[in-house]
Symmetry: C2
Subunit: 217 residues, 2 copies
């Protein structure tokens, strides 16, 4: 294991994303180090990296805390996601191969099948969220713009955004899956404006679902 720093980075990151470390909890380097059985150096590196990604806030000489997000932040995030992901659709559509379209269609089917099963929410929702990430990730990859991918990545690794499906109503879930289908259909037809528009609607709908409509702004 050549890079302790990377593994501890992953550990802290997943701890934050899973909510295990939420609530602006203070992250003391020494504590993390001893609990992981390593020295402060790689812990420190991991924390700075997480800070660069916006997952933790660090103040000089005052250490790191898990970052927090309010409604305004979430609104910003979904706003930008709607723009960037629809742009990804626009770029991806004229480049899409039949194999890639098929891949996306398969994800759609799998998600629809998952939605129909009578598994408990605790089992179904994480699986759906995982497939959802694959779907969106594939389109971003198809856009062939590495920077676009990076920008979106820095936006979405925020706990609530990653767990979007947890707050979905059955109707919202169904709409979401229909959006996925429509996006693929539009891409198949080579209509990038259509595809981008549906993606935009898709993300904005998710925003309202997560934030609720009771926003005064």
């Amino acid at each position: 294991m050549a890079k302790i720093a990377s593994t501890v980075y992953e550990q802290i990151r997943t701890a934050i994303l899973s909510g295990e470390l939420s609530n602006s909890e203070r992250l003391v380097e020494e504590d993390l180090a001893v609990s992981l059985g390593i020295s402060r150096t790689p812990v420190r590196e991991a924390l700075r990296r997480l800070a660069a990604e916006g997952l933790v806030d660090v103040s000089p000489n005052r250490g790191a805390r898990v970052a927090e997000w309010d409604d305004h932040d979430l609104r910003e995030i979904f706003d930008l996601r709607s723009i960037l992901e629809s742009h990804a659709c626009e770029l991806a559509t004229p480049r899409a191969s039949t194999a890639e379209i098929e891949f996306l269609e398969n994800i759609c089917e799998e998600m629809e099948a998952l939605a129909k099963t009578d598994l408990s929410s605790e089992q179904r929702l994480p699986a759906l969220a995982a497939k959802n990430r694959i779907f969106h990730g594939k389109i971003i990859e198809m856009s062939n713009s590495s920077r676009l991918g990076l920008l979106i990545e820095t936006l979405i690794h925020v706990p609530i955004v990653m767990q979007t499906y947890k707050v979905y109503s059955p109707e919202a879930l169904e709409r979401s899956l229909r959006h996925h289908r429509e996006i693929v259909t539009a891409m198949k037809a080579g209509d990038e404006v259509w595809a981008a528009s549906v993606m935009r609607a898709h993300v904005l709908a998710a925003r309202e679902e997560v934030l609720g409509q009771d926003e005064s702004e």
Copy 2:
């Protein structure tokens, strides 16, 4: 001076942005440390931070190099900038105060005055570039979306992008200044679609100027 790491970060950063350290030059921690009279620890931290921002590439156990950008990268960057900065215009327009509009108008005037002086290019262009950054930065600030600002910032701190005016023809420069004026006019009129459209055109025009039209893509 409590934070050596931050100052060395700034030093390396400006060295890269000014082109002083360009060309995928290797950045050896020890060398930088001794040349700055400090230890490797803050140098290392600065390098990791620069890596997170995309200004240097680091490979495990192989150190850091100054990042390089090809035409494809630049195309991506201007593409995304055109989308994000026009969005900033859209958000900023309904929020713009008369004082802010005035501020932007003053920048326009100062830039026009600068363009008319018969100073040498070496003196005029950096001054113009600085004002240009202030103009764009102000609009981003007016958009009141901190994340949007961060995303744009990670895109533009690439040498060639920052020195855009260096490659401008006189005609391109004049067009650029007219764009600025038109953006302010549109914002003054409260027409965010107009403002966003001009901004989009403004950045895409810059892209063609920087890349040249001899692209196959």
